[in-house]
């Protein structure tokens, strides 16, 4: 049991940071040279840890003059994340633009579609109220399901299980945010003949925590192989501002503060990293339970939840399926 925790420390926590940065930068240059053939990279900077580390790696790989950063806030974006994004841009000294997407989202009906679904669940919901979605079930062996949490203007929170239709409509509506952002990233990439950098960490990438044709879309993903713990380690190693290195991961998509573990993962990221790694090295539920200090039954549910999410989100990774293969295109 002890051996598993020690192995995690040795392989994941105490990895060689210098070597990893060098490997990522060299591979990014190689991909640009041989596959993408673009002149530089566009990175959407949210102020979160993943886009910050990806942006810093891009600058290290290609230089500040071959990078273009974009901030894409909307009405539900937290002020702190925007200001962390600005700090990062200043720190890295990269040309950038800010495009507030609220008017576009309003025009396309994002907020209206979302609020329609919320009102079906909480008829009293309206101006001055806030909302978020919370996942339940994964740690208890239940089918994952979703609760809608709203906060009235007096600050009182209310929670109800979402019916499937309303859940799907809220997610579909909020997915506009990631898809509109990606449209703007590709506008700048096309304009500059640059490639778009996608910024998922391993946990998000493996478990399908992204929007297809939204944040899931990119030309290269430099940290998709790194556990979130490692991304935090690289942020420090690369000397990023302390406010970014110490930030708690949030989705920054709903108007109430929402941790990623509330919305999607069964456990906070430090534990999810360990669970995902344990799954990848074939550890048993008993070994994972000892490592995390949870019951063996809970560990079994967590491992099962990892497999279920892989299955449910596989299509997000997939290219469109063809009726017959086209070897002349390598497809």
């Amino acid at each position: 049991m002890q051996a598993l925790a020690e192995r995690y420390e040795a392989e994941i926590v105490n990895f060689d940071r210098d070597k990893e940065v060098e490997r990522i930068c060299e591979t990014m240059r190689e991909i640009m040279r041989t596959k993408l053939r673009r002149r530089g990279v566009v990175v959407a900077v949210s102020g979160g840890i993943d886009s910050s580390v990806s942006a810093a790696l891009a600058v290290k790989a290609f230089g500040a003059k071959k990078a273009f950063f974009i901030q894409l806030p909307e009405v539900d974006s937290a002020q702190e994340t925007q200001s962390r994004g600005s700090q990062l841009i200043e720190h890295l000294g990269v040309d950038h633009t800010t495009h507030n997407i609220a008017a576009t989202l309003e025009a396309i009906g994002c907020y209206q579609a979302r609020d329609e679904a919320i009102v079906k669940t909480f008829p009293e919901y309206g101006d001055g109220w806030k909302n978020k979605i919370v996942i339940k079930g994964g740690l208890d062996g239940q089918v994952n399901h979703f609760m809608l949490v709203v906060q009235d203007p007096q600050g009182q929170q209310h929670e109800k299980r979402l019916d499937l239709r309303e859940y799907l409509q809220i997610v579909a509506a909020t997915n506009y945010k990631q898809r509109i952002r990606k449209t703007i990233e590709y506008y700048h990439a096309d304009r500059l003949n640059y490639a778009v950098v996608g910024t998922p960490n391993r946990l998000e990438y493996d478990q399908g925590f992204f929007v297809k044709n939204g944040d899931g879309s990119a030309d290269l993903k430099p940290i998709a192989h790194l556990y979130k713990t490692q991304v935090y380690a690289l942020a420090k190693h690369l000397g990023l501002p302390a406010s970014i290195c110490n930030a708690t991961p949030t989705t920054d998509t709903y108007s109430l503060p929402q941790g990623q573990d509330e919305f999607y993962f069964a456990l906070p990221y430090q534990e999810m990293d360990k669970a995902l790694w344990a799954r990848n090295v074939g550890a048993s539920a008993g070994e994972l339970a000892a490592m995390l200090g949870i019951t063996e039954e809970q560990a079994k549910f967590v491992l099962q939840d990892i497999d279920n999410k892989r299955k449910t989100t596989h299509y997000l990774h997939a290219k469109p399926y063809l009726i017959e293969s086209m070897p002349e295109l390598g497809l």
Partner: protein
């Protein structure tokens, strides 16, 4: 139509896109056989609540109640007066 037939037909029509009754055994695990994913199970719950006028509680959202035609038939029998 029996409860079993209603559920079988719903799964066949909506997840397997067939009316071939031999495509699904009533004991088949929806998850193990890749017939449903977790969103699919939520859809089934929505269908059951609508079709049979029951309310599936959070604690009842477990594979033992929902992961095969037979499991659902037993679950519905318990839920309905």
């Amino acid at each position: 139509m029996s409860t079993e037939a209603i559920i079988r037909n719903y799964i066949l029509e909506n997840y397997l896109f067939t009316d071939d009754q031999s495509a699904l055994n009533s004991t088949d695990s929806f998850l193990d056989k890749d017939i449903l994913d977790s969103t699919g199970i939520l859809e089934v719950i929505y269908f059951l609540e609508d079709e049979f006028g029951i309310k599936v509680e959070d604690t009842e959202m477990v594979p033992e109640n929902l992961d095969s035609v037979n499991n659902i038939v037993s679950f519905i029998a318990k839920k309905r007066p």
